[in-house]
C-alpha cells in the first residue's frame, strides 16, 4: 500500500504546482494583488503533499517494505538504522525526492515572506509563477521517469543496502542535505530575477531582497562543498579532498557564479551599475545547478556520484535548454530597462575591486566549465575519449585564487566611488608591515615554496586590512570613552551585514592557507611492514602491531592495529581498515586519521597478508589540512552573524555607526 500512497502524494503535489503557476501568472497579467494569498495557500498545500511523500518513503525504508521498488534498491535489513534513514538520498530517485522537498520548503518560505511584507505587483507574481514552474519540472520528474514509489510483486525478502561508499561515514547524513539545500535554493533568486525580467521592472528593493534569498542557499552550498571535501578526505582513502571530479566541479561552478553575484549585486544596490550582469550571473547560477544535476544524475559522466538512468537525461536537457533560451530572449528584450544609472568614478574604488572580483570569479567558473565539459564535447564531436587532467585545473586556478586572496582584504578596505592615496596609505601601512614581518619569518623558518610563501603573506596582509576595518571605527568609539571590547563589539554589531561578510572573508583566508600548505608540503610513504616492525617517515614512525578480522551485521572488516610515534614518543594507536560489503567484490578502505591543528597523520591499510604476518600501509602527512574545514565553519559563522535577526534596542544604541574613513549608512555595507 505504501508505494501507491506515496505516488498519489507526488501527483497531488504536482497538481498544486501547476495550479500555483497558473494562479500566479494569471494574477500577474491582470496586475492583481489577490494572487499572493492564493499562491501562499497553494504553496503550503504543495509542501504538505511533498512532505507526505517524503515521510512515506522514510516509513517504507525504516519498516523494510521491500515491495516499494526504491527500498528494494537501497535498503537492507542489516543496514544500521541511521544509514537506513539517510539511504533515502543514496540513489537517483530518492535524491530527487529530497530535492522536491527542499524546493517546496523554499517555495513556502518565499510565499510566507512575501505575504508578510505585503509585497505584490507583477514582478512578484511572475517570480512566484517561475518558482512554481521549477517545482512542476521536478515533480514531473519524481512522478514519472524517476518515480521511486513503483511496486514490486512479489516483494523480495531483503535488499542490497545502500552503496557501500555511502554508508561508510556519518557525514553522508550531512553532506547531501547541506549541498542540496544550497543547490536547490538557487532556484529562488533565479525566479526573483526571471520574474522581474518578465515584468520588465526592477524594484529598487530588488537587490536587497534577492541578496537575502541568495545568501542563505549560498551559505549552505559553501558548507555542503566543505563537508563534501571532508567526507572524501575521511572516506575515500587517498588522502586528498578535491580531485576536480565532474561532480565536485558541478557543485563548485554555481558556487563561483553565486559568489560573483553576491558581490556584483552590492554594486547594483549602491551605485545602480551592473544590473544586466548581475541578472546574468544569477541566471547562470541556476543554469549551472541544472547542468550539474544533469551531468551527475544522467550518467553522461562516470563518477562516484553518477547514478545511471535512461530517461532523466533528455528531461533535464530539455528543461536546461528551455531555461537558457527563455533567459537569453528575456535579457535581450528587457535590456533597455537594465541600463546602468551610475558609472565608474575612479580606478581606486571599491567598485573596481568588485569588477576585478567578478572577472576572476566568472573566469574561474568558465575555466572549470570548459575542463568539465571538454571530455563530453571531444567524445561527441571527434569520437575520442579524453580526460582533462587535474594539472589543467590546478594551473588555471592557482593564479585566479591568488588574485582573489589579494582582493579579499583590499576590496573591503577601498572606499566607494573614489579613494584618496593618502587614506589608502594609512590603511595599508600596518597590514603591509605585518605582511613583511610574516614574509621574513617564513623565510627564517624555511618556507621556501614561493606559492606557499605568497599565499601566507597575502593572507596576513588581508587579515591586517580586515582587522583595521574594525579597529579604525573602534578607535573613534574608544575616544568617546567606551572600553576596548565594548567598542569593538559595538562596531561589529552596528553593521552586521558588513562585519559578517568580513568573518566570511577570514574563513576564505583560512581555506586558502590550508589548501596551499597542505598540497605543497604533503608527504607520503608506503611500506609493507612485517608484524611488530616499524617504518619511518620524517619525525614519524609507524609500527604494525596486529591484524584481525571482524564481523559486523552489514559487513566484514579487516583491521590493522598500528601505533604511531612522533619524535620517539607514542602519539596514539590507530585502526585503518578494509571493509568488505557482501554486495561488492572489492573492499573499501577506511583510513584512520590523527587530526591536528598543525598537521594530520593519515593512515590507510592498502593490503595485507592472509596470515597476518605483514601489511602494506600508506601514511600521508598533510600540514594545515584541517584549516580548510575550520575555514568552512568560520564562513558559516560569518553568515549566521550577518543574518541573525536584529534585536530591538534603545534609541541611543541604534545611533548611526561611525565607520572609519569611509562614511557608510547603517545596514548598507558588504
Amino acid at each position: 500500500m505504501t508505494g501507491p500512497l506515496g505516488h498519489v502524494a507526488t501527483l497531488l503535489a504536482l497538481l498544486c504546482a501547476v495550479a500555483g503557476a497558473v494562479v500566479a501568472f494569471l494574477g500577474g497579467r491582470s496586475g492583481g494583488e489577490r494572487f499572493v494569498g492564493t499562491s501562499r495557500r497553494v504553496a503550503y498545500v504543495m509542501l504538505a503533499f511533498v512532505a507526505a511523500a517524503f515521510l512515506t518513503m522514510e516509513y517504507a525504508l525504516v519498516t523494510h517494505d521491500f515491495s516499494v521498488k526504491y527500498v528494494a534498491q537501497v535498503g537492507s535489513r542489516e543496514t544500521p538504522l541511521f544509514y537506513t534513514v539517510i539511504s533515502l538520498w543514496s540513489a537517483l530517485q530518492g535524491s530527487i525526492l529530497l530535492w522536491c522537498l527542499i524546493l517546496a520548503v523554499y517555495t513556502a518560505l518565499l510565499a510566507r515572506s512575501m505575504a508578510k511584507s505585503g509585497a505584490s505587483g507583477r514582478d512578484v507574481a511572475f517570480s512566484f509563477g517561475t518558482l512554481f514552474i521549477v517545482n512542476v519540472f521536478f515533480l514531473v520528474l519524481i512522478s514519472f521517469p524517476a518515480n521511486p514509489f513503483g511496486t514490486l510483486n512479489p516483494a523480495p525478502a531483503n535488499g542490497p543496502g545502500p552503496n557501500p561508499l555511502l554508508q561508510n561515514h556519518a557525514f553522508m547524513g550531512i553532506h547531501p542535505p547541506l549541498l542540496y539545500t544550497g543547490y536547490v535554493g538557487m532556484a529562488v533568486p533565479f525566479s526573483l530575477g526571471f520574474g522581474s525580467l518578465l515584468a520588465g521592472r526592477l524594484d529598487p528593493e530588488w537587490p536587497r531582497r534577492i541578496r537575502k534569498w541568495t545568501i542563505v542557499p549560498w551559505a549552505f552550498l559553501t558548507l555542503g562543498i566543505v563537508a563534501g571535501s571532508w567526507w572524501s578526505y575521511e572516506v575515500l582513502g587517498w588522502g586528498g579532498y578535491w580531485a576536480w571530479d565532474p561532480v565536485e566541479n558541478a557543485s563548485f561552478m554555481p558556487w563561483l557564479t553565486a559568489t560573483a553575484f553576491l558581490h556584483s549585486v552590492m554594486v547594483q544596490e549602491r551605485r545602480g551599475m551592473l544590473k544586466m550582469w548581475t541578472l546574468t550571473l544569477i541566471i547562470a547560477t541556476f543554469l549551472l545547478t541544472l547542468l550539474g544535476t544533469f551531468l551527475t544524475r544522467s550518467g553522461v559522466l562516470a563518477s562516484v556520484h553518477a547514478f545511471t538512468e535512461g530517461l532523466i537525461g533528455p528531461f533535464f536537457l530539455g528543461f536546461l535548454g528551455l531555461v537558457l533560451l527563455s533567459s537569453l530572449v528575456l535579457l535581450a528584450w528587457r535590456g533597455e530597462a537594465l541600463r546602468s544609472t551610475g558609472s565608474l568614478d575612479s580606478a581606486l574604488s571599491r567598485e573596481t575591486a568588485f569588477l576585478a572580483n567578478n572577472l576572476l570569479f566568472a573566469g574561474f567558473a568558465f575555466t572549470v566549465l570548459l575542463g568539465t565539459m571538454f571530455p563530453l564535447i571531444s567524445e561527441a564531436v571527434r569520437g575520442v575519449k579524453v580526460s582533462v587532467g587535474a594539472p589543467y585545473f590546478n594551473q588555471m586556478s592557482v593564479p585566479i585564487a591568488l588574485g582573489l586572496v589579494f582582493l579579499v582584504g583590499v576590496g573591503p578596505a577601498l572606499p566607494w566611488r573614489k579613494g584618496s592615496p593618502e587614506l589608502l596609505g594609512k590603511k595599508f601601512l600596518w597590514p603591509g608591515v605585518a605582511a613583511a614581518v610574516a614574509g621574513v619569518l617564513l623565510l627564517l623558518f624555511g618556507v621556501n615554496k614561493p606559492l606557499v610563501w605568497l599565499t601566507i603573506v597575502m593572507a596576513v596582509f588581508a587579515i591586517g586590512l580586515l582587522v583595521g576595518e574594525v579597529l579604525g571605527p573602534a578607535a573613534i568609539r574608544r575616544a568617546r570613552g567606551e572600553g576596548a571590547l565594548r567598542a569593538i563589539a559595538g562596531v561589529a554589531l552596528s553593521n552586521r551585514r558588513r562585519y559578517g561578510g568580513y568573518i566570511v572573508h577570514a574563513g576564505v583566508l583560512l581555506i586558502a592557507v590550508g589548501v596551499a600548505v597542505s598540497s605543497l608540503y604533503r608527504r607520503e610513504g608506503e611500506w609493507t611492514i612485517k608484524l611488530h616492525d616499524a617504518a619511518t617517515m620524517g619525525p614519524y614512525a609507524i609500527q604494525f602491531d596486529s591484524l584481525w578480522a571482524k564481523s559486523e551485521p552489514q559487513r566484514d572488516a579487516v583491521i590493522a592495529g598500528v601505533t604511531a610515534f612522533r619524535k620517539g614518543s607514542q602519539v596514539g594507536r590507530y585502526y585503518p581498515r578494509l571493509n568488505y560489503y557482501p554486495t561488492q567484490r572489492e573492499p573499501i578502505a577506511t583510513p584512520a586519521v590523527r587530526e591536528g591543528v598543525r598537521e594530520d597523520l593519515y593512515l590507510v591499510l592498502m593490503a595485507y597478508d592472509e596470515k597476518g604476518q605483514h601489511a602494506t600501509i600508506k601514511a600521508i602527512v598533510s600540514p594545515l589540512v584541517g584549516w580548510i574545514w575550520y575555514g568552512g565553519i568560520v564562513m558559516g559563522l560569518g553568515v549566521i552573524f550577518a543574518l541573525l535577526p536584529r534585536r530591538r534596542r534603545p534609541l541611543e544604541d541604534a545611533a548611526p555607526a561611525v565607520t572609519g574613513g569611509s562614511r557608510e549608512p547603517v545596514g548598507v555595507g558588504d
Binding site: A91, G159, P160, P162, N163, P164, A302, S303, V304, H305, A306, F307, T308, L359, G363, F366, T367, L370, G371, F374, V384, K385, V386, S387, V388, G389, P391, Y392, Q395, M396, E526, T528, L547, W548, A549, S551, D556, V558, L578, Y580, Y581, P582, T583, Q584, R585, E586, P587, A589, L605, M606, A607, Y608, E610, K611, G612, T616
Partner: protein
C-alpha cells in the same frame, strides 16, 4: 556619437584580458589532455604512441601478475578482446587488485613495448547492484577468521 576615449580603453582592456585568458585556457587544456585508450587502440598507433601520457584501460590478464617485493614492482598484462600490453607499475597493488579485474593505468608507453604506469586504478562499478548468482565477494580474508578460531 564617437566613443569616448574611456570606453575605447575599457573595451581594449577587456579584449586583452579575454585574449590572454583564452590563450591560457587553450594552452592549459591542450597540454593536460589525457587520452583514454584500449590496448588495441594503443598498439594501432604504432610508434606515435611512444612517450605521451595516456590512460590505458582493460582487463588484467589471468596468470600474468608478478609482484616483486624487493624492487616493489608490479608487472602484468592488460588486455582487451584482441590485444594485450605489458604494464609495469611501481608500488604494491591495492588490495582489490586481482586477475580478471577491470583496471585503468595512467602512464607512458615506451619504445621497449612496455607501459610504465605511475597511477593504477582498479575500476569498480559505481552503479550499485545486488550480486548475481554465483558472483561472490572476495573471500581471502576468511583465512584471518579461521586463525582467530571463528
Amino acid at each position: 556619437m564617437a566613443m569616448s576615449k574611456r570606453t575605447t580603453g575599457t573595451i581594449f582592456g577587456a579584449v586583452v584580458v579575454l585574449a590572454v585568458f583564452a590563450y591560457l585556457v587553450w594552452g592549459g587544456i591542450g597540454k593536460n589532455l589525457v587520452y583514454f585508450l584500449t590496448p588495441s587502440e594503443l598498439l594501432a598507433k604504432g610508434t606515435s604512441a611512444y612517450g605521451s601520457n595516456v590512460r590505458l584501460g582493460g582487463m588484467v590478464d589471468s596468470g600474468s601478475v608478478h609482484w616483486n617485493a624487493d624492487t616493489r614492482e608490479l608487472r602484468f598484462r592488460l588486455k582487451d578482446e584482441t590485444k594485450s600490453v605489458e604494464v609495469i607499475s611501481s608500488g604494491a597493488p591495492p588490495q582489490m587488485f586481482s586477475e580478471g579485474i577491470g583496471c585503468v593505468v595512467e602512464g607512458v608507453f615506451s619504445a621497449d613495448g612496455v607501459f610504465h604506469s605511475h597511477n593504477l586504478m582498479v575500476k569498480h562499478s559505481n552503479e550499485y547492484r545486488a550480486p548475481r548468482d554465483g558472483q561472490k565477494p572476495a573471500e581471502y580474508y576468511r583465512e584471518l577468521f579461521k586463525q582467530q578460531g571463528q
